[in-house]
């Protein structure tokens, strides 16, 4: 097995690799697209649907104004504000793509639910009709982003280590159950993971190639335009860059690290792309930027169950992101990731330990020879790119950020999803080095047995290769399959599965999406014009179901909180720890504790539905 972080040098992908990457991307997007048909609409998603439709309305308005020769009207603060005020705490790129997909690919017009449109809906509008579901049309960019991440993992893995690294990293990533879950959605988390990886990839290439410095600036801008997580990326890359050039830096004679093109491009092009893509920032820019940053710097504290306790305001448990990663990511993948870290880190670690202990570091085996031929546009040329440290920094930082006791926990694993591509790459490195070591041993055996230096038999190579790809991928793939479409209730075998997760006191529900699974039952059983308390399912999600024909339009949305329960005919509760009180409010209002339906995953209750008995008892509201 290789001995040092720098033992491998980049290989270039050929045409067939690019074809395979494209296949991975489209295959992933297709599977996600098929899977999401059963997937409920998250609270946040429904908000983004509304924003996407609103933003796309601005373009429709722009087209009309252009035809009338009044283009400038669309660029007035009033017009931009009207369409882009919605969800202005998040940048617009992803929602613009959602709106584009919805407007172009969905078969308009939709006769159902005109009351749910955020801006006046042009009933004459016609899309290509490739998609018959509005929800799917809004989600399509999310599948493509996730597919792009898988493809990129293949190419990145190929460049840093080899083809097996790439293919295993790609498959290990998409079969992380929570990654697959978020990959289906019209939310930013999977997309920003892709953009994070793409920015790191561009930076990595920029160490030796000038044009990638410029690309990195543009890509970073698009990452900023996807989600605010991206603001952290330059600091991490700068840290890595300083490590790469450290050996080339001295005080006497004075050789400070140069500011390379890639960081200049990120500093200039990044904010420029961010500013240009978002019409909301084209006027009253300072105030709108203030509002954007303030929202995230002072984010409210949500409720989340972790180890049997409902957490809200700080201090929050430092172990949360690490514990949740342990309980949701397949342990095989985590073990391989640690092995990858060891392979990259053992030389410096053992060298350092050898000062104090009688340990012997592996022999130094670097292909990099000085003097380095670097310049400000190729800042890493001839230097060891320290791939292991690049992967480590990006794998650890997103978790470490959430681990800070003052960082709000507002959603769970999705907030450090951007770490998982790097975890998958580290695992891929471990697997491919293991493969090479096994093949090397087989070759030695063949030589010892006199069969000269012929390659190992193809069948055994293929078998070992297949086993090394498929078996480590299997735990995640099976867990994903068994827990679909309730990905937020998934827990790995280490936690004991969904039931083990419930025993451990981990969140079982979030975002009010489970109701999607009982919509056919609601349509079949509930009386006409039933007034339903949908609990955590927000009005926009309800509207999306009606618009898509998944819910009878006569079913009414009762509203929120206790008054809605008291007014309702049916009431449901998403089974999160802090939501237990809604159960009790329903008991009090309906005079019964017996649900008529309990939705479960592996025997774990996710959603309870109650029907008001006749006659009902008076409720006692304390306030």
């Amino acid at each position: 097995m290789r001995t040092a972080e720098h033992a491998a040098r980049p290989a270039r992908p050929g045409g067939r690799d690019l074809a395979l990457a494209l296949l991975l991307m489209l295959g992933t997007a297709s599977i996600l697209g098929l899977a999401q048909r059963d997937q409920g609409v998250m609270r946040d998603e429904a908000t983004y649907f509304q924003a996407a439709e609103s933003y796309s309305g601005w373009f429709a308005d722009l087209g009309q104004n252009y035809r009338r020769g009044e283009t400038a009207r669309s660029f007035s603060p009033a017009s931009i504000g009207r369409y882009f005020r919605t969800n202005s705490e998040h940048p617009a790129l992803f929602k613009l793509l959602m709106g584009l997909s919805w407007r172009q690919l969905y078969s308009h017009p939709n006769p159902r639910g005109p009351r749910f449109h955020p801006v006046p809906h042009d009933q004459t509008m016609k899309g290509l009709g490739w998609l018959t579901s509005e929800i799917s049309a809004f989600r399509l960019p999310g599948w493509l982003f996730t597919g792009l991440c898988v493809a990129l993992l293949y190419l990145f893995g190929l460049r840093i280590e080899g083809r097996l690294t790439g293919i295993t990293a790609a498959l290990l990533y998409i079969t992380i159950p929570r990654v697959f879950f978020h990959g289906q959605l019209a939310c930013f988390d999977s997309a920003v993971s892709t953009m994070w990886l793409l920015t790191v990839y561009a930076y990595f290439r920029s160490l030796e190639h000038a044009r990638w410095g410029v690309y990195a600036g543009l890509i970073f801008g698009l990452a900023l335009a996807t989600k605010h997580n991206a603001w952290f990326i330059p600091a991490l890359l700068l840290l890595h860059y300083l490590m790469v050039v450290w050996s080339d830096v001295s005080l006497r004679p004075f050789h400070p690290p140069r500011i390379p093109l890639v960081f200049l491009a990120m500093a200039l092009l990044g904010p420029l792309v961010f500013l240009l893509h978002w019409p909301w920032l084209w006027f009253d820019t300072v105030n709108h930027l203030k509002g954007y940053f303030a929202f995230h710097l002072h984010h409210s504290y949500y409720n989340i169950e972790y180890l049997g306790r409902n957490w809200g305001p700080p201090p929050l448990p430092i172990s949360y992101p690490f514990g949740m990663t342990l309980f949701t990511v397949p342990i095989t993948l985590l073990g391989l990731c640690l092995a990858g870290l060891w392979l990259y880190g053992r030389t410096p670690l053992l060298s350092w330990l050898s000062r104090f202990l009688s340990v012997r570091p592996p022999p130094y085996d670097s292909p990099f020879r000085y003097p380095a031929r670097r310049s400000w546009i190729r800042p890493g040329k001839g230097l060891d790119p320290l791939v292991g440290r690049l992967l480590l920094i990006n794998a650890v930082f997103p978790l470490a950020l959430i681990a800070l006791p003052s960082t709000p926990i507002f959603g769970g694993t999705k907030h450090w999803l951007s770490a998982y591509p790097f975890i998958a790459l580290l695992a891929g490195v471990a697997l491919s080095r293991l493969y090479r070591a096994v093949m090397l041993r087989a070759r030695r055996s063949a030589v010892d047995e006199g069969s000269a230096a012929a390659p190992a038999p193809p069948r055994s190579r293929i078998l070992v290769g297949l086993a090394l790809v498929l078996l480590p991928v299997a735990p995640g793939a099976i867990s994903t399959f068994l827990t679909h479409p309730f990905g937020l209730s998934q827990y790995s075998a280490v936690a004991g599965g969904p039931a083990g997760g419930a025993d451990l006191g981990l969140n079982r529900q979030y975002w009010g999406y489970a109701v999607r699974n009982i919509l056919p039952w609601i349509d079949r059983t509930m009386k006409h014009s039933a007034n339903v308390y949908f609990h955590d399912t927000n009005f926009d999600s309800y509207g999306a179901y009606v618009r898509d024909g998944l819910l009878r339009p006569d079913i009414r949305y009762a509203g929120m909180e206790r008054p809605a329960i008291i007014a309702s005919d049916y009431a449901m509760v998403d089974q999160e720890l802090h939501f237990n009180k809604y159960d009790y409010w329903i008991w009090d209002a309906y005079g019964t504790t017996t649900p008529i339906r309990v939705l479960t995953l592996d025997g774990v209750p996710l959603l309870s539905v109650y029907r008001r008995p006749e006659p009902a008892r008076q409720a006692s509201d304390p306030r």
Binding site: G162, D448, P455, N580
Partner: protein
């Protein structure tokens, strides 16, 4: 293009999992190309490193175990038939008024779905099961209800994935007077600079102290404390006032046992202030408890041994330094 081109700086790599050339290079670096590994000095066959095979086996084993565990965890789920069998067993064995506890706590919605028709609501709002000679437990995954910890089931039935157990207790607590159940017998006053008598309002069964402040009432309530349901007497303290609930004629026993809590996790987040509950028999204070915000449903016991068998007025006084979001609730009973 030869396979040797794969590993370093090539334009077009051959489409194979790992470059044969990389392995070839490693062999060459290890000197294998010069011929077979020489035998050991003692004449034994050459030893090849086993570590790669051991690691390969470990990876395969880990993945296989994880897959197996995932499938087993998925398969070991109690079926509807198991739950229905458990419901039938409880129906056959249980007498009316006997409580049924579910374990683990998260399975309760399923328990109520299948057994709810047998269980009045009040039996699911208990603070404890001390008064019951027979208690049923319906559980899965080997869980035990915390109220039954340390006790041994008299009988148990394993019905597929669901276990029904009966616990018989030889010396259940004998309740003399249940304050929560008899809250309508109380007289409620709000004491500040002046004393306000809070009239009982039949429309919503509560003592309303101030029509202008909808939260200032006393009465029976279903509270959420530590995410569990309890039947209790609701009383929100009032800044600068004492909320007094007096029961004019209470038969006392050896002890007065009660529980305190602050309703609703949102209110427990909004304020951290404690709430003080004093207990008086006649004019004499016999107990006080300062309920802290982060406490669960908290049990207190007051020794009333010397008053056992006597009838006295019993009062509860509730105060808080700052009453905002202090939706206090308590239950109490006298026991023999």
């Amino acid at each position: 293009m030869s396979s040797d081109d794969f590993s370093i700086d090539v334009d077009e790599a051959p489409l194979e999992l790992e470059g044969e050339s990389a392995i070839q290079q490693r062999i060459q670096r290890a000197g294998v190309e010069s011929g077979p590994t020489p035998p050991d000095p003692d004449g034994q066959p050459p030893r090849r490193p086993r570590l790669p095979l051991v690691l390969l086996a470990l990876v395969m084993l880990l993945a296989a175990v994880e897959v197996g565990a995932t499938l087993v965890q998925h398969a070991r789920v109690p079926s509807d038939a198991d739950w229905n069998a458990a419901a039938r067993k409880v129906r056959a064995e249980r007498k009316p008024g006997e409580p049924v506890l579910f374990a683990p706590h998260w399975v309760a919605p399923l328990g109520r779905l299948h057994l709810g028709d047998q269980l009045p609501m009040e039996l699911q709002l208990l603070s404890d099961v001390d008064r019951y000679p027979r208690v049923f437990e319906v559980s899965i995954r080997g869980a035990r209800h915390p109220w039954l910890e340390g006790q041994r089931a008299t009988s148990s039935w394993q019905l597929g994935g669901v276990r029904v157990a009966l616990y018989q207790r030889p010396t259940p607590a004998q309740v003399r007077f249940d304050f929560t159940h008899n809250v309508r017998q109380a007289q409620v006053t709000r004491i500040g600079r002046d004393v306000v008598h809070c009239p009982f309002r039949a429309t919503d069964s509560r003592f309303a102290c101030d029509p202008a402040r909808g939260w200032n009432w006393v009465g029976s309530y279903l509270a959420e404390v530590n995410h569990q349901p309890y039947r209790c007497i609701f009383v929100n303290p009032v800044d600068g006032h004492v909320m007094r609930i007096t029961f004019p004629a209470v038969v006392l026993g050896g002890s007065l046992v009660g529980y305190t809590g602050i309703d609703d996790f949102e209110n427990r987040k909004r304020s951290k202030e404690p709430v003080l509950l004093k207990t008086l028999v006649g004019p004499r204070q016999v107990g006080a408890i300062q309920h802290q915000n982060d406490w669960p449903w908290h049990r207190f016991t007051i020794d009333t041994h010397e008053l056992a068998g006597q009838t006295h007025p019993v009062s509860f006084e509730v105060t808080a330094t700052r009453a905002y979001a202090r939706s206090f609730c308590f239950s109490a009973e006298t026991r023999k």
